[in-house]
Symmetry: D2
Subunit: 427 residues, 4 copies
């Protein structure tokens, strides 16, 4: 496989650039450039893997990942605040850390967002595009991308959705082929064409990789698969695998590996950031719930292991709880059973920081999609499932949820890029 | 590799046969034979793996594991109660479950144990051998094994240490070669030759595989490695990986895979069974502590990842707490950090049942050691690290602690037994 | 105050006699009679208080509480099972404990229940009265009470609602006076006259104290207050204060006493019994939620302590989770703040058993209401707030929620019954 | 009772003024004076109580408590840093909060401490008095007090021990009378006369109230009781009741009030501040352990309630865990039982901040001792038990541990000061 070098500037256009995840990702990247902070949690920047020689090398020394110094950030938001003020408001990072890169953050000012209140009723954006219809909305986004690329002299651009969860909609006929999708856009079917689809369509049309960080139905449609292949653009989604689901995708494989049965898994979350406010709407929550619920059934394969997983009661709750702010907290109760069917319980209380966990994931997805494009890999990037709560898959395939299997997929793909084999079964 | 069929009876001689783990393992095995309970948690009995054809098959359909119906249980204890009364007293299993196999349990009566109070001061056994010295102790055990084998018409015997943790001793010159060990036995050096070493020596001398379920210094010595190879006997140890450590060996790999840093890991345990009473003695606790502490450092490799794991404060506490009985409970607090060094916390509260988790592990170690012997594999069984808190390893090697790497070792070994290759990188 | 002795039989008629709480209460009472178990948790049976002399005496030695031996149990249910079979099905008590009083339990067979599916949509009772209208329903219940009393030669009868939570309805004009209530009954207004009101009305009409153990709008109406005074009958309600709310009514007073501020209180519950199934219906949950939410605001008095409690975000969730059965589990996260406003967090995980906690409360409410009637105290029994999640109060009064204040009310009332004063301020 | 007005300056001399508790208390007091923060958690400053008229009034409007503006802070430490630098190092408060009162903090410079390494082996103070013997040590402290009072023009001085826990010593003959104590001082018996006793003796000799905030054997001796009465000085101790014990003294009364039995109570703590380092020494831990263990037995009165509390297994552990810094964290597991003896469990995880909880307690003890002195109350201040883990009591009395009883003692004492009676039993 031939991979183009990462020459020139890489534009990173973030939808929801004023949000907590985006401002945290940007601040950390700017700080890392200046040597003020390590990009902890970033696989592209910090992880090593073993190469054929047996040596462990940094992934970025194995494949040509874009240099952080070459990134130019931009994006859209429904509020006009620059990244510094938006980050202050998000209350994720300490003022001291923001001030260290204040000038650069202040220079990042959003473009008005393409927005439709129907898809996120708890949000009242004031800084939105005036679009007559979906086709115009798409054209406006495309123009934004082109303008940004030219103004910043970018060699390449990747677009990242780091905005809110949209309301739940099922897959419908309009999403089943590119032709159907384009017809629905032309007919301005606003109930099946979400704003996030407009961003994705625009991005792909401009030849830019697109990453879906929320659980929205967007990239995971035959229409987008077709379009991304046609345009030779990598796409990756969906929903950053940050906290509770990350835990699930290591604990569930452990139970299964150890042949321990599971009766029930109750997961509750409290969070108080903007994401929590949006998810307080049942329609938006449903989108998230579907994304979160799929995980463990897929790992347990109840049909193959009916004695152990034939009757798992899995429930996920998300509660808007303002005192917690961005510090999302998860409490899981897991009812397991062992030898002779005797029950045991595990409680996991994860006091996490949503944006701290999500920021390096967002950055990695951008960097790896850019790499994939230079390597000529387009369409759905299965190998990036590692970062995603609901990895995309074609209908006839099963997603891989097990974190350690996903990690082997990452390593295997990188080996294939450089034409190597796995060194031995224990890597 | 040629593997002998599992014909004839398999004697399983348990040291500490009246303990909670042993009686739970035996009761469950008897119940499984009668179809009253599934052997949940047993890899040998229930786990599947993918074979070359892509098909998933039960491991016991791939390699010739001994049939549960062919097992004859026996063993030693420091109390004379039969297995039924001992199990009642352990309060692990419901009376109803014990009664279902009462006759068979009552028929299992221990032989007097080889015991030395100095090595477990909290135990006051009443049913112990009168041995003039260590050499005689070994000879008595060997005679017991021979008698049992003959009386029960066993084709093969495996010996399993499921008794208490002995006091901590460091590796000393006496353990460094078979000659030195035999000299120390001859000289009756009771401070470096523990009772568990007598059982191990006797077992190996009789050609029987030996499994060390406690953290005792016993099998993990050059002397025993040499002896087991000389006698062509498989050995496996040490310390069943049941609850808290099991969690650690999946959570620590998760942090590392995700490049999340760790500042501290505080683990506390409360338990009220006989094991808890023994560990209330600081000398015995130290043996356990050393076993439990090694785990995460090995996984984190701080020297390779100083930014993330260069300063992990790891503390393990075990508290004797009678109200909890056998229902060992663990509470872990883990201090992690992510993007830009921001801290997060995870608390895991595992309300487990020590013997329920340990019983299938004990059975699996026995069954797989017996298999190994028939396959001509002798000496340390690295591939059984999956079941062990402190996997044995030669001095120039690193143990593997990551549960999922260990699981791949199990599967890889089974594949080698039948001359297959791994089907694909995602198994 | 003159108190009649507790001579003769006391009939205890339980609505929902086949439920988990009722069968647990009955089994424990029967076991206590036989000396097989202590009535742990019962104030009437086990609590002591200090009398004027300074001596501590059992409450039942201070005032004439009915003897457990004089109780005759009966009641109604929507399923025809006798109390033994119902208790088996509830899976609260061990079979061994049920078998110890099996004959007596089997002899307790319910009468068909007055039931209206609209008020509890998740229940599908098969053993219900055929009542043309609410007036007939009431008359049938009254006839049941009279029959039971005669058949069992009871001196007195108390009726206890231990059945499910009904759907939420607001207080309406029909509940504002006895005349209005009777008119609504006559007009068969089934949307404002719940089945529980029919039981309460019938009970009061028959001169029997009535206890409301669920959060239903029933006794807490001017109509019932008027009726109970007119008929000289004690009434007590509502909603047994068993687990999570019990904790709240000691923790909230602690924060307030210590002048610690509170930002948020998130309470979640998982339970899998019939009560949980009923509460899975949003209409029924609302009734419970209103009952549970009122507690802490009343204790904190935010209007008097705006700096500390002016902005408490309080959220209560109840989740139907079948694996947990009757073992209701609560997880609370409490966000507090102290000196200079610095935040701290408390997490409480209560692994309780709903019926084990509720059974002695139910028994105590019955015994104390019977005592009150003999002491000539009628209408709302404020002093029994100690046992109740939503203590009834007239509109111009504030309920008392603080457990220790409630306990002082109990003791003060008992002192008044026997004409004593509080011995000193530290009792 | 006649109470002198709080005229003039109040000197507050803190032993361990550079510690986390002291610097937090001082910073918050300075901030409160400037209106920058509320003195949250302070009873003297914020709590109300009901007076005879039924009205609720601030305690400081009922009795003449010293005005925060009249306080002058000073004290001793084993390190020479001023309060600003010490507070920075303690890492309890945000830099922003310290900077708001930076000038005043910097002006607070400690006097060299009276110190004896034997009593706190984990501390290596560099800024200590050179005292030939205990008598000289006392005289040096007295001189410090006199100098401070004169230099700052103080009307009154209170001395507060906010330094570390000393090693455990039992009560011995030397502590049994003032004469014996003075003889031991004269004979320089350094193994029974601790540094904290020297501070207490010096303080009382100077007519200054003394508060013991650590669990040291110091004030709780007949010698000190005698001396404080002779000198007409109030004394209060011992050990601030901040986090875990605060919880215990509300939960234990709840169990008892509800007649719920208790089998076991396991309490573990992790903390990483200087206090934690000191307590890592078993001799110092023992002092703390004895203080912490006494609490629940006293509340449960097992001899009066053998069925419920006759066999409570109570264990307390404190673990030095540097990653936690001052944010002490407690995890309690409580095993309770109810109706028919069925077991339940409560887990409490308190993520607290030691100094944030302790600071207002320290301030309150100072302010109330100063008030007591002006009211002519001297010797042991039982009524301040509310603030203390191990309330002092004469040998023939029982301490009161129940927080709500303690709170009533506070209010009752204040009422007595102003000659009022309790308004009604529900206050």
């Amino acid at each position: 496989m031939e991979i183009k070098e990462a020459n020139g500037k890489l534009g990173v256009l973030v939808v929801g650039i004023g949000g907590a995840v985006a401002t945290t990702m940007i601040t950390g990247t700017l700080a890392a450039r200046k040597g003020l902070a390590k990009p902890i949690g970033s696989i592209a920047e910090m992880a090593k893997m073993r190469v054929k020689s047996g040596e462990e090398k940094l992934i970025k020394d194995i494949v040509p990942i874009a240099n952080l110094n070459d990134i130019v950030f931009g994006g859209w938001d429904i509020f006009p605040e620059n990244a510094y003020n938006a980050a202050l408001c998000a209350e994720v990072l300490k003022e001291k850390d923001l001030n260290a890169v204040k000038d650069e953050l202040e220079a990042i000012v959003p473009m008005p967002a393409a927005f439709d209140h129907t898809w996120a009723k708890r949000l009242n954006g004031t800084y939105v595009k005036d679009s007559a219809n979906r086709a115009e909305m798409i054209e406006q986004i495309r123009q934004d991308i082109r303008n940004f690329k030219a103004a910043n002299n970018c060699d390449r651009v990747t677009v990242l959705w780091s905005a809110s969860t949209e309301i739940y909609i099922p897959l419908s006929d309009e999403h089943m082929s590119l032709a159907a999708l384009e017809k629905a856009i032309a007919e301005n079917k606003t109930d099946v064409i979400s704003p996030s689809m407009c961003y994705a369509y625009a991005s792909i049309a401009e030849g830019c990789p697109f990453v879906m960080g929320a659980p929205n139905l967007c990239l995971d449609t035959p229409a987008m698969w077709e379009f991304s292949k046609k345009m030779q653009v990598p796409i990756a989604g969906k929903d950053f695998k940050s906290g509770q689901t990350l835990m699930k995708t290591v604990l569930a494989p452990m139970f299964k590996t150890r042949m321990l049965g599971v009766n029930g898994w109750f997961s509750t979350n409290i969070l108080g950031n903007r994401d929590g406010a949006v998810l307080d709407d049942p329609d938006n929550f449903k989108t998230k719930e579907v994304s979160k619920l799929s995980v463990i059934e897929n790992i347990f394969e109840p049909e193959k292991n009916p004695d152990l997983y034939g009757d798992v009661y899995h429930k996920v709750r998300i509660n808007y709880y303002p005192p917690r702010k961005d510090n999302k907290e998860a409490w899981d109760n897991i009812d397991i059973f062992g030898w002779m069917g005797y029950p045991m319980e595990i409680k996991v209380n994860f006091l996490c920081r949503d944006s701290i966990l999500a920021a390096p994931i967002a950055l990695d997805l951008v960097l790896f999609c850019d790499l994939a494009q230079r390597a000529g890999m387009y369409g759905t990037q299965y190998w990036l499932s590692f970062f995603l709560k609901s990895p995309m898959h074609e209908f006839n395939e099963e997603p891989v949820h097990d974190l350690f299997q996903q990690w082997r997929m990452v390593k295997q793909t990188i080996r294939e890029m450089i034409g190597e084999k796995e060194p031995n079964y224990l890597d």
